[in-house]
Symmetry: C2
Subunit: 506 residues, 2 copies
């Protein structure tokens, strides 16, 4: 039996859930594959109603889900209530995305002549890729786990989903799965539309199962690369969408440091400790000018961090790994400790802050300082000149986000925004990277190693694109075409007709 563990108290609860056997994984994937075929026969309106029914059912089970998640993650009820709200919103948002129909990229070219000679009637559509495997993350027991963004976007694409539950919150995963399945049941979704598997071996089996067509993963670079390799080495390789880690540089210009040193210092402290620093968007590298303005900013940051209490991390393993990272950074000869309390034990940690100068950071000696450290830790990189700053920024890895704090008419702002656009998936001015809104315009991805696919996002409307493939019907009679490609447009989808984009009829 699988055990649920409270990271704050050490209390254990035996669950009515077992690790999924390899035979069970195979049967579940087969079922998911069949469910995907069945889902393909349903309308987009039905698909939207399924996502809404799932959101409703999730909220109806909200109390028990939040209680389980609070027990298993120690993230606190307030945060978890917000996360549930966000997760239900996300399911309903993807219902909107489905009904918007643009994701189908439907296109009709009637037969015509061209400089290449006659062209046959061609009609293009995006269709569901197949059953999708989703790996739940440790740090968002809801929004990036069983009922999270990968699941919501894959279901929106028309794909059945098999989630590998994260071992840190099995009870939450089971309750969420039950809620989603209840929603699915209410609208008559096929069996296998949403399944959950438990255990390390089950996760590996999922990635290599012939009935799985793509993988969504949020987690560490190490685990992500191993699974990505498995996905690539299959007889039929499949897309692997991994979000693998990001240091999220935050740059403060000299002007901004002059005007807002204390405000930015305190704000950075809040962002880097939010959720115990267990966010993929935690600002881990803070680029601050040398001199008195920068000193004032760092002092404010230090004050705020010193004022924080102890934190409970998600698991003992994560806390142990955090302590190892802290020790390695502290031992680095070029690094100074700014906030470095003595290590706590178990799942308990305290916020940490280190400092280094930009030239050192840009040098080969500092290579190990550039990696993401999961938890409430940041490295302040002090720069003297713009040249030093850019050399250090270039040395940092590409990332999910890059934040620039600058004043109006700031002479440094444009260069930093342009640079950020080449190295990050989201460029933020005067804002902190934590807090990732679910919206049409969100991009939560970035160049390697932030993610494995530079066009893919795991948050926002475009997340649906990961779970689609494209297909052209040539000279296919109207009666044999899928609804979105028939001339009469029975589903009323947005589409391109003979090269001209035609908005959705209303």
């Amino acid at each position: 039996m699988i055990t649920s563990l409270n990271p704050a108290t050490g209390e254990e609860r035996v669950l009515d859930v077992e690790e999924t056997t390899l035979d069970q994984v195979a049967a579940i994937c087969e079922l998911a594959h069949r469910a995907t075929s069945e889902l393909a026969t349903r309308s987009l309106t039905w698909r939207g109603s399924m996502l809404r029914a799932m959101a409703d059912a999730l909220e109806e089970s909200g109390e028990s889900i939040i209680a389980a998640a609070d027990f298993e993650t120690a993230l606190g009820r307030a945060r978890l209530k917000g996360e549930l709200r966000r997760t239900a919103f996300q399911l309903r948002f993807f219902a909107d995305v489905v009904e918007d129909t643009t994701f189908l990229a439907a296109s009709i070219d009637h037969a015509t002549d061209s400089p290449m000679g006659p062209l046959a009637d061609m009609r293009r559509l995006r269709v569901p890729l197949g059953a999708v495997a989703v790996f739940g993350s440790s740090n968002f027991p809801l929004a990036f786990s069983v009922p999270g963004g990968d699941t919501a976007s894959a279901l929106a694409a028309g794909c059945a989903v098999v989630v590998k539950a994260h071992p840190a919150h099995p009870h939450t995963s089971a309750l969420c799965a039950a809620a989603l399945r209840e929603g699915a049941r209410r609208v008559g979704a096929p069996e296998g539309t949403l399944e959950v598997v438990y255990g390390f071996a089950a996760g590996t089996a999922l990635v290599t199962d012939a009935n799985i067509a793509a993988v969504g993963f949020t987690g560490s670079l190490f685990a992500g690369q191993a699974l990505w390799r498995l996905a690539n080495e299959r007889p039929v390789p499949i897309p692997f969408y991994g979000e693998l880690g990001s240091a999220n540089p935050l740059v403060v210009t000299p002007s901004a440091a002059r005007v807002r040193a204390r405000e930015i210092g305190a704000g950075a402290a809040g962002s880097m400790t939010l959720g115990v620093g267990q966010f993929c968007t935690k600002p881990g590298l803070l680029f601050v000018p040398e001199g008195s303005d920068g000193d004032a900013l760092v002092n404010a940051l230090v004050e705020s961090l010193v004022a924080t209490s102890t934190f409970t991390m998600l698991t003992g393993g994560i806390a142990a790994h955090f302590r190892e990272s802290v020790a390695a950074i502290a031992a680095h000869e070029d690094v100074v400790a700014l906030v470095a309390p003595a290590p706590e034990a178990g799942t308990t940690v305290r916020a940490q802050l280190f400092g280094v100068d930009a030239r050192t950071f840009a040098s080969e000696a500092a290579r190990d300082l550039r990696e993401e450290c999961f938890g409430p830790l940041a490295l302040v990189v002090r720069y003297e000149s713009s040249d030093d700053l850019f050399a250090a920024l270039r040395a940092a890895s590409a990332s999910l986000t890059l934040s620039v704090f600058a004043e109006a008419e700031d002479p440094d702002a444009a260069g930093l925004v342009d640079f950020a656009a080449t190295r990050a998936g989201r460029v933020i001015v005067n804002g902190y990277p934590t807090g990732v809104g679910v919206s049409w315009s969100m991009h939560h991805g970035g160049p390697w190693p932030a993610t494995t696919a530079p066009l893919a996002t795991s948050v926002g409307a475009a997340g649906i694109e990961r779970w689609l493939r494209a297909l052209t019907y040539q000279s296919v009679p109207e009666a044999l075409l899928p609804a979105p490609l028939r001339d009469e447009n029975p589903w009323g989808v947005a589409r391109r007709v003979d090269g001209v984009l035609v908005a959705r009829p209303v």
Copy 2:
């Protein structure tokens, strides 16, 4: 010095071109990287004008390019003139795609409240991915080589391109590169916008060069997989878009065989020998019913093939590989020879046809009969029942195309079209797969092993998506935003504003 070889006559010509050294490759990639940064500062209108200038320059050099290509490929002037026309059309088509602006997927969400709390101003855009490496194919010296679809779509995306010239047509490659560069020069494109490298080692170096951000490849499964592995194993892995081979099943229903046996037999013979069977869309598997109607179809096919003369393949190596494949199929104990002339020598081959029954084809013993064979060869698979047909179709690999020949009101048509939609990138009714139109609705891709990325196409407007990444600007002041994301929309791009798609102002 590199030598140009005439496959029809054996004549050799020494060219004023050398294999590119590894140092030269590195310098070229650095230049391409810088050119991509410079291209990002130009407008879409300018980018369209560059593609049109390239098309013009290509046509101006048309006579010498066609002469070189005819010498190097033996494909004949008529085919090559058509291919040049297609290639120039394709460059101009991508200028239209650029000016259409939809590929940017620009989206603006103004700051608002949501059930998740306040959402900051977010603006999303697709931007050029970086310098792109393109591997020219052997079988299309123009349309899938230096001035081909990968090059045109990558330039349209705003990426500089470095092409690895195919060794079978180095002179054609050099002349095309000169023409494209002349077009680029006329509109003031930066140096490095289009470069060509020569030699096997240069190709490998291209895939692993840190300044290359993605690879487009058309060629064999073997070479494609090797390069794909290289791309994945880089310190910073990059997307690899390979089109690796396809058997392109063609299915004739009993009704169609009854009504059009001779017409379909002759048509299939034409399609499988077009371009000496050296097309990625050559129909290599022909599913024909058992019985007299099917016999009549096969007889017509045999008659047409027997009437064909000898063919000259692109290279001696390709012809030798073709003969090996023919010998292997002929030696297969379950296969009958239908058209099996004695082997010719050198680059000369004759059309070949073999037969097998559907049950054997579906069995493990026939595994080696399912692979693509490049050249004028097809395997006729005779089926007795619909069950036998579908078992055999399921055993075949996924492919670029699947063609169904069926009558009006044909009871078998719907099931075949639906099946085809799960296994091919293009589903054709009553048409042959050869001849791939450049258009908005074309999809030239397919599930593995047809291509490495199931959403990607190497022909048609959507081909541009391979060379883009996405990016969100959060709370970025208007003055620091790229033009397509500014409220006033100075470039007049199509975009989504607060969730609503707004067509391009005209």
